[in-house]
Assembly symmetry: D2
Homo-oligomer: 304 residues x 4
């Protein structure tokens, strides 16, 4: 028998770095976890344990902290690009780098205007975690092209009406009644692929701008779509993002259907005109789908 | 040998109810989990399995949904009071009810003003989970007094400066250097006890008002306290809440010290003037403390 | 207005220590998280931030590691006793220590006997996490008495029959049908209080022995009790432990009723003679109860 | 601008089914969550909300329960194959099914032999969750071929010695000292692809047999490999599985390097001869790799 080493990668996962910028008493904050995965000349380390081609994961962690200090963190994407290009360009044995970031938002603590009279004090270095969705980024670099996928997860949304579900297949295992009014709720995981950009320009590209537009486009499309199925809502959200963000060529969604069942109160002698719901945990529907701009460039390893 | 049955209680935990209120196209939402725990004449069920004194947990769940429909949910506290009084007052074998609520906030989805020109459309029945802290309430009722404890958890806050730590005990196991500048971060769990109120009045008391003031007081005290220890900050937060909320007689905190260690970059030839931090998971400091109004009434079972 | 500082404590939580003992090629392992909470002369640190009475939580962490090295870890309880007594006896400002331990079990990796022929090789320093329940311990020491509570959590058990539920209260919100055959499943959290012991003797007392007996007693009582209610099963488990473990004076349980609902397959034309179940997540019943030995000594702070 | 619908699938996720088999007083148990994902003629539902091609996720859930009752659950893989073939073969609009299973193990509660004297009683319908690793299965069926990937996750293993790490790249960000003795610990996630099998035969193939051999092979290879890098251990585990399981053609691993750092006790005047370790949470190394049998058939969609 003979065996071969297949695809492999290694790296340091979830280095949690917080970078404070100080402009007098007013501070800024970036809070993110960074996961690095490198590939290259890794046959020896697997077959014999020879580490001569291995840049230790501990060094990768140090590099994350050092780069945060030296270059700051403009956006998650910019930071991931810097790191990915560094690992491949500085180490001959490393041919491919994947850098993934999860970013957590903070708001400034703002005094309750007018509550104490007089002008509000400035809390320039005090923050509260926003608790909003987590922002994500994945960057691939192979020495030639830099590929960037941005995204978000745990953006939980609900329409309390304007959703129907009917006209579906009925087979011998079907018991679900059709409905003309239901709650539609989901926790959006979305990832969008940016079109091709020069390896240098992409280090300073404005990813905050596209993030804000994409997020708003998804929220608005979700709210404005009278929905006959979650798939229809997914597609509406995807096309809205592509319409409003010309630099994005593809978007992928994973949308759990967070079921809210109207409680049957009739055994208790009560009517329930779609006002009282049981929010179920499991099982849940899971709708996954992709929307592409026609003629989108090849994705390569962008989604891996 | 002889054994005795000691303290006991039982009930349905984490019934997840979502209550929609509909005023034309504009909807309101309350999203909460309700946990009921009842005590009373429960010797027989433990000793022989005789359930004659037992109101099933399934019935408790039904009651939560039915009350949500019949009475609506004004605040978590009002709703918990209604339920607790109901169980004790309607069942002779139930002598004590504890009802605990965790409430999750939702914001309306608001169109990005001005982005599309023209007046914003109204998204009256579309919501996004705020992701802010979880609001909590615990109500006890024993047929005589109703006791209410409100609270919050996972309010994550950070001061990026204005925190020191020095002057502590040094023993043979001490290695920590003193510091004049550090990050102070915590995830606030706070619970505050309301003073005594009439059993009827408390059903409609304004708990939203005190919640908003207490939350703001905590945030402002956290931001405005130049801190020499997390205990000092805790006490400042507690007294601020008691100062601003005359109806609250006691407040308890559990504050994990979420350590952010300045990364030592000197081996890499880099200075780090408290700008780049490693956010640690475990271990963490845990500071717990109570602040009371002088002459606060007895707590009874309020905290159990 | 005047405010007072109430109950408080502080310490380092969840220091995760792994202690290897080496007896030639055969190693032993103890894997636990340790959480320390100290109380004492803590007015100044709360009111003014003066840390003169504060033993830093970082020092507490160092002490955990140093004690693991110096004294080894005989059992979780012995180790917690050593630490608790140390903090109070060595620091005049510390009057009370609470030390909590969670312990994770490991099994030796054993070769599959006979699979390769010949005698099994010895894997003396290779382990696999058992994944069984987590073992717990809480020790209190106040300079006079040492109190020990042992326990376990996440011991998940199921009887697939021999459980009924009927004869309960029916009110206007009751819809549950009575049943003569159901699954009874729970995730046992149990904590048992040991009787009084000399402060020196308790450092070396045999807590492994009582743990093994208590665990077996609970499992056997669960399996052997034909159950008319989960409360009855709880009481049977508690008395069994007290019968078999003379050194234990009190035991407390929290037993979630992990509902397994027989799926109604009749709309699909299928019978379901209690063979196919839907395992629900939430809501769940929660049964809490205590069994004491008659004449058990006062608990003092043991359960806090 | 023009947009196109890309890859998509939908289904019911995490239906939690428990199937009891009853052979007199001795019962058997299968406990698993099943996640179905279907693809096919889904353009209309995305573009217009027309559900004519959609088999509702609720029906999928019903089918899981009905099949559990009708056919029983021989192994997770057999059950997933039945479901996947059913959805595609019975619905013209469904062209591809993916069925994923996670299975949780239970042991019988066994009386402590000899503890009470006399022969042990039989606890034929009493079980305790094993807490061992989770067993996994993913089946793809497209109307032509059935592809099966088995696996496990959270198999946590540790070697307390016989691991070194040195000879790696040093760059300007490297600070890690080389070591000749360290703990090597990981939580194994492994998935192995079975070779091609006839669509009918695979419904009754013996997947328990290969599971047991693969699991033992991994444990033994982990224990018996003197490790110079986690990659080397990964490759040894993979080849061992392929050697011992002729029906498996490929295996993929994700191995987090669960760092256990020897605590530096020298500032406290204590030696630490690799006996006392700090078990870190994050960051962690993550090693991913594949081992294939030479000439393994194409994987097709097996890994998606």
């Amino acid at each position: 028998m003979s065996f071969v080493l297949g695809e492999n990668r290694y790296g340091k996962a979830e280095t949690h770095v917080v970078r404070i910028t100080k402009d007098g008493p007013s501070h800024g904050i970036k809070d993110l976890t960074v996961s690095v995965a490198l590939s290259g000349d890794m046959s020896d380390v697997h077959l014999t344990g020879d580490n001569a081609a291995v840049l230790p994961t501990d060094t990768q962690k140090n590099t994350v902290f050092a780069f945060a200090q030296k270059y700051g963190i403009e956006t998650s994407e910019n930071f991931a690009v810097l790191l990915a290009q560094h690992f491949v360009d500085s180490q001959p044995t490393i041919h491919h780098a994947r850098v993934e970031v999860a970013e957590f938002g903070w708001d400034r603590i703002r005094p309750w205007a007018g509550r104490h009279g007089g002008p509000p004090k400035d809390h320039g270095h005090s923050f509260v975690r926003s608790g909003r969705e987590t922002r994500t980024a994945v960057v691939h670099y192979d020495g030639a092209a830099t590929r960037v996928v941005s995204g978000l997860q745990d953006l939980v949304v609900m329409n309390s009406t304007d959703s129907e579900f009917h006209g579906y297949i009925k087979d011998e295992y079907t018991t679900l009644p059709e409905t003309r009014d239901r709650i539609l709720a989901t926790a959006v995981t979305a990832r969008w692929r940016h079109g091709e950009t020069d390896n240098a320009d992409i280090r300073t590209a404005d990813f905050d701008g596209s993030y804000d537009v994409a997020r708003s486009a998804m929220l608005e499309a979700f709210a404005e779509t009278y929905s006959l199925s979650l798939q229809q809502t997914l597609y509406a959200m995807g096309t809205r993002v592509l319409e409003e963000c010309p630099g994005i060529c593809e978007i992928r969604f994973a949308l759990p259907n967070k079921h809210h069942f109207a409680v049957d109160l009739s055994p208790l002698g009560l009517a329930n005109p779609n006002e009282t719901f049981y929010a179920a945990d499991r099982p849940y529907g899971l709708i996954e789908g992709t929307v592409l701009r026609e003629g989108a460039p090849e994705a390569g390893p962008a989604w891996t």
